[in-house]
Every structure is written in C-alpha cells, then in structure tokens.
C-alpha cells in the first residue's frame, strides 16, 4: 500500500471508514512528517497532541459502531490567522507573540466539530500581507519545489498562505486552511501545484480570524485536488451570527454535486487579462485550458471586463485603509507585545509597541491606509476606490449575461526565487493582478494546477464564477483537473 501521507482528504476519509487503517496511524504518520520537515519552515507551532486526540476520538467512535463524522480520521494544517483555543496564534507577527486565544475561530471550530484534527499552525505572510511569505516575522517558508536548472535557489511558496501551500505540496498534511484577501489562497496554490478555492464573500465566518481587510477577507481550503477542496469547504462554510457579513444560507453538498460535464455552460475568456509581457508558456496553458473546457462540453466565448486594470490600484487603497483601521487594536494594552520605554507616556507606548511589533510591509500598508483615510484625502482616494470597485463588480455582473464562468491564469508567472521581488513593493503587488478583481467583487474563484513550465515549476489556471456558484467553479475546475492530468510533485530534498 502507498504511504499514508501520500493520501488526500477523500482517500483518508474513505480508507478510515473502510477499516484500512486507524485514524491514529494517519495522525502519527503526518505528525512525524511535519516534525522532519523543519527545513521548509512551514509550521510555526506543531500540535501532534491535537491531531492524536481527534484521531483517538474517531477510532473510539468507529469501534463503538457510531456513524462517522464528515472528516473523521483526517488531520489538517491550520493557517496561523485562525485563532485556536489554547494554541499560540500570531498571524506571523512579532506583535502577537505570546498570544494564546481563549476562544476558537468559527472556521476552525466547524472543522473540529466535523472530526478533523490539527497538525499545527502554519506560517504565512505577516497579517496576510504579502505574496511570497517573506513578510513573516518567523522566517521565510521555503517551497518544496526547485527549478530544474540544477541550481538550488530557494523558491517562494506564494503568499500569504505560503505555509499552507508548502505543507500540502510537501505532503505534510492532506489539506489546510487558507485565507484570501486578494489572492492569498489561489496564488500560493498555483505556485506549488495544488488546488485552492476562495468561496463567495460571506460563506465562511470571519469570527475569530485575525482581520486584515474585512470587506475582502475570506477563508477557504487548500488541498491536492478539487474533490478534497469541496469536502473541506463543506466543513468550513456556514452561517455564523457572530459575523455581521456571514451569509444566512444552507451549505450546498458540493462534493455530491461534483461533475466534470460542462454541457450547456459558457466560459468567458476576458480579453483584459491578456497582459503585457505575460510569459508565452502561461498564455499557451491558458489556451490549452480553454480547449479542455470545450472538450468537457462548454462553449468558450471572448468577453470583456473593461475596468480590470484599475483593480490593483483600487485594492491597494481599500485593503490598506481597512488594515489601518483593523490593526489599530494592537496597542500593547490588551494582548501581545508591549514596548514601554523608560518614562514613556501612553501615546509613546503605543508608538513604540507598534514600531517594534509590526514588520516593514505591515507598517507600509498601515501608513498608506492612514494616509488615504486622512482628512482632505478621503474622497480623492477611498471614496474613488470604492466607486471603481463598484464599476469592477458591474463589469462582472454584465459579463454573466454572456457566460457562466471565466477562465484565466492564476498568476502572471511561476514561483519566483525568495528575495527576487522583495525590494520592490509594486512588483510584488502585481503578482495578484489576476486574483484581485474577483476578490473586490466577492466572487468564488479557484486555482487548479494546469502543467509545468520549462523550468519544471507548476502553473495554475483560475476559474471565477457568479456569487454563490461555488458548484459551477468546482465543476469547471474538476473538468480542467481531469484533462490536465497533473501528477508532478516536488522531489524530496528537505
């Protein structure tokens, strides 16, 4: 039999139910693999006891003949943005060092209620601000992938959910949670050759998730294939009265609804996503993706989203503005770090704590946000950005009159080397050019691996759907997955 850690979510769930192995065997196998993968720096905290306890409960329930919970026997990784009761949660920032939440986030609680266990807390870009995992206060995550050029340059696992992507790709966990504000699930998934879906804004509770930009933040799963993502999403989504923007809707049976047959569906190819200096390989993969969807029965049409080029600048007003407001809570009074220089007053304590506790990218964004919200500038920046955002959402509304789904590349490049873009904030921001528009409009979007580039690195394709049509997004992604036949995995060097 294959090694247990080679199994995905569905295979573990089904094998456990079928009596092929115990939940405890699975949990221990993954925990051992996590413990041996320190070189990747994917985990900030390892919690083998949490995984073992959930596994023991699953084994006891199975022995007692009880009906299995949906995720019984499945251990997962938890992005460190989710508050976990009794387990340190830092959002990869020095300012939250030592914070141990006395409560559980809405999303993680649902997963534990469904029988899942936690292998540990996953590294990430600090406060989810970054596209390469280089803004973590606790060191870079190293992608398990390497270029096929014989060099050993350390590559970015993408971000902000870079610990999640690296851990799933390296088979340290069969699935993980991520969060996506402007692409933080989809871009890292694409960089390491796995799948990840950001559901419609409001599907997953934001309660107990460390806030970055509240009108954009959405949790979602990252796993090896579309089915595994559907299973995890079913057990993460759902109404939560503690989140004012939570959608009061039933959670569809996405896994049961999976079908790669796209007859009767129309898929749009947005002309504006064909950006200047896009690598030829990505353009070729995009065309191949359209062929795959046609082969699955869909009709492919050219469409236009005219305000696409303004999505990134609008995002870099809205997200920092919301961040500057959300991060005002880190004041050295209620939790986390306090820096109190000798003789400092209260205002000086705030300023010293925040100077010491926030990393450079977080400071940059808080200051941009503070600037665009400051007196005299609010209308010119923030109000204008929210108007442009309305236009971007209207572009999508209009395009849905012509098609049901959109197909685009996930990112404008394959994984880059660590350090390659970190000196130029705008070059880093441009990485999210294909993922940000759907975030601004709150739409469900998924990345699936499509193939490898000439350097042997994974490339992703993105499917965007109408609000609440996660099923359509999952199904088109499944059709791509079935035809891409992506089986490549990073050779183990760690």
């Amino acid at each position: 039999m294959a090694e247990l850690t080679d199994l995905g979510v569905a295979a573990i769930r089904d094998g456990f139910r079928g009596g092929d192995f115990s939940a405890r065997e699975v949990a221990d196998a993954f925990s051992a693999r996590v413990a041996a993968a320190g070189a990747l720096n994917a985990f900030l905290v390892e919690t083998p006891d949490h995984a073992a306890a959930a596994a023991d409960r699953a084994d006891a329930a199975r022995a007692a003949g009880e009906a299995p919970l949906p995720l019984a026997g499945v251990p997962i990784g938890m992005k460190d943005l989710f508050c976990t009761r009794g387990v340190a949660t830092t959002a990869a920032s020095h300012i939250l060092e030592g914070f141990v939440p006395p409560y559980e986030s809405g999303v993680s609680q649902r997963l534990w209620d469904a029988g899942a266990g936690m292998l540990g807390k996953l590294n990430m870009d600090q406060f989810a601000m970054g596209s390469s995992n280089e803004t973590s206060a606790f060191g870079n995550v190293i992608s398990p992938w390497r270029r096929a050029d014989g060099g050993n340059s350390a590559l970015a696992p993408g971000g902000s959910s870079g610990g999640s992507s690296a851990a799933v790709a390296a088979r340290l966990c069969p699935g993980a949670t991520g969060t996506d504000t402007g692409g933080s699930i989809r871009q890292p998934a694409a960089f390491v050759g796995i799948s990840g879906i950001k559901p419609t804004y409001g599907r997953c509770s934001r309660w107990g998730t460390v806030a970055f930009a509240s009108s954009l933040d959405q949790a979602g799963p990252m796993a090896r294939d579309v089915r595994d993502c559907a299973i995890l999403l079913e057990n993460m989504a759902g109404f939560d009265p503690r989140d004012a923007t939570s959608l009061e809707l039933p959670v569809p049976a996405w896994e049961a609804g999976l079908s790669g047959d796209l007859k009767g569906k129309r898929v749009g190819i947005p002309a504006e996503y064909r950006v200047d200096d896009m690598p030829a390989e990505i353009d070729a993969l995009w065309r191949r993706g359209a062929e795959w969807l046609r082969d699955a029965g869909a009709e492919v049409v050219e469409v236009s989203l005219p305000h696409t080029r303004y999505a990134l600048p609008a995002y870099y007003i809205v997200a920092p503005a919301e961040a500057s407001s959300n991060l005002a809570r880190y004041d050295g009074v209620r939790y986390g770090l306090r820096d109190l220089p000798d003789g400092a007053n209260l205002q000086e304590m705030y300023a010293a704590t925040r100077a010491d506790g926030f990393g450079p990218e977080v400071k940059r964004r808080v200051m941009i946000g503070t600037y665009v919200l400051s007196a005299g500038f609010y209308d010119a920046y923030y109000t204008q950005a929210q108007k442009v955002r309305a236009l971007i959402a209207r572009d999508f509304d209009r395009v849905w009159e012509r098609c049901d789904l959109l197909l685009t590349p996930t990112a404008p490049s394959a994984a880059f080397a660590l350090g390659e873009k970190s000196a130029d904030p705008i070059a880093m921001y441009l990485n999210d050019v294909f993922t940000v528009p759907s975030s601004l409009a709150g739409l469900p979007a998924m990345s699936v691996p499509g193939g490898l580039d000439a350097q042997g690195l994974p490339l992703g394709l993105q499917v965007i759907g109408r609000a609440l049509d996660e099923q359509g997004v999952l199904n088109a992604s499944l059709a791509l997955e079935e035809r891409a036949g992506f089986t490549a995995r990073a050779e183990q060097w760690w």
Partner: protein
C-alpha cells in the same frame, strides 16, 4: 506624487508608529511611489457611480436587545501584558 519627510512623520504619528528621521527619509520615496501608482484611479470616470458599501447584497440582522455575552473577565485579561485587580493597566495618563 511626491511625499516629503514631514508628511511621512505626520502619517506615522496618526498611525501611532514611532519612526526615526532615517526611516522617514527611506519611507518618503517608497510611499511616494505607491501613492503615485494608485493615483491612476483618478482617470476613471465615476460620475453617477455610488461607492460600493456591500460586496454581496446582505441585510443587516437585528436581534433581541439582551445580553448574550460577558462574565468572562479573566479570559479577557489573560493575554494582557499588564493587568491588576481585574483591570488592564497602562502608564499614568493624568498628572
């Protein structure tokens, strides 16, 4: 868009982040570049467009006006860098 060091110092003060003059000098061109880049939004004609207020149409829920939380003082204080007698403590603010 050019941002001078005095502007950086003013923003940092509003954001309650202590910065040194050297940091202000380094941040000025950096913030200037980013603000210059986002200023391209000014070229979009938004006349007659309402700013977005909700990403996905949703109704604000009302609930009965009664206490549903509380009584967890120790849990609230458990992560405080400094707490005494059931309160958060801070440097003296009144002379």
């Amino acid at each position: 868009m050019s941002v001078d060091e005095a502007t950086v110092a003013r923003i940092a003060k509003l954001a309650r982040i202590a910065i040194t003059p050297e940091e202000a000098a380094r941040l000025a061109p950096e913030l200037g570049n980013i603000l210059g880049w986002i200023e391209q939004l000014g070229e979009v004609d938004t006349s007659g467009v309402e700013p977005m207020t909700a990403v996905i149409p949703n109704t604000l829920r009302l609930r009965e006006d009664r206490v549903t939380d509380g009584g967890v003082r120790d849990a609230v204080l458990v992560n405080a860098p400094a707490a005494e007698h059931g309160f958060f403590t801070v440097p003296k603010v009144i002379e």
